[in-house]
Amino acid sequence: MSDQWVQYRPKLQIYEILDKPGGVAVEQALQRAEEALEQHRASATHAIRESVTRLEAIVRERGAPDPEQVYAQAGFVLDIAGVYMPALCRASQSLCELVHRLRALGKWDWAAVAVHVSSMRLLLEMRDGMEGAVQSVLDGLAAVVAKYPDPCPPDPPRSAPVPAAS
């Protein structure tokens, strides 16, 4: 493959989905999708509860640090909770990030893990209409994670174009 850019304009079938007769209106599609999601809510909630309970057991025992197991359980909750419990999803994302940073440093912090797990339980049991409290919990978790540096540095700022020589 050469350094030369080659451009293609393929005609794909997916490009026709907006022009084809029939189909469903956007509102209807969204409503149907939400209804379809409801069918999985009970089993998803059950699976999430099991994972949070496992995390609580890990924190209670405080055996040898097992970052992989904590990351896997948090990752499972993150995967499932997204469409049903976005705040819980964000809390599990925060726990994944904490473990990721601790692993990179070769450290472990049970207190930081424990506060995440108890926050996940809190968010799991919280009723709707408590957005302020939810945000406070998530802000608190972000502060805990921020104690440890991100092992992957941010992208360098884009350099300004070199002015043409006069």
């Binding site: 493959m1 080659v6 451009q7 997916i14 209106a25 149907r32 999708a33 499932i80 469409v83 992208d155």
Partner: protein, 186 residues
Amino acid sequence: MNGANLPAHLRINLEASTILFIDDNAMSLEILGSVFYGFGCKDRVKCANLEDAKNILLSRRVDLIFLDAGFPDDGWYKFMQWLRRDTADPMCFTPVIIISGHSTRALVRKARDCGAHFTVAKPITTGVLLNRLAWIAHEQRPFVRNAIFAGPDRRWKNNGAPPGTAGRRSGDAQEDNTEEPARASA
């Protein structure tokens, strides 16, 4: 407007489309498949591992792929390399949306460079998924390929070559000052 930030009069017809979902979490597969059932897609193929996904792609037409970025050892990235580099036209152009769970900065960079159309970070919403789908259909972004990248053109606004440079693409000089597509006009 609505949860998908799309015009209310817009209709989407996925009845004849085949969508492949690749995720090693069975429940995630079910959830994502249900969303697209709601959107009207009848042919939803769910796949829990990357090798099976390759075989599916080699045996039938797929119009869109949702790929989870949680596969170990960067398997999802290698899959993208295979799809974009080693498969024939039109399969190599199949639109891909990456779904990411825990998004490290390194993963976000890789997702940007792997030749996917979009990366959607969890928590996902039905509105975001429908919006991205409509975008792919509406924008019909050209594909570009060279030694280091193969995938949809990542330049959203084509103002020709970057200032102070001669440009790297043959079309840079001709396409100067092309209007940016309206983002909400899908």
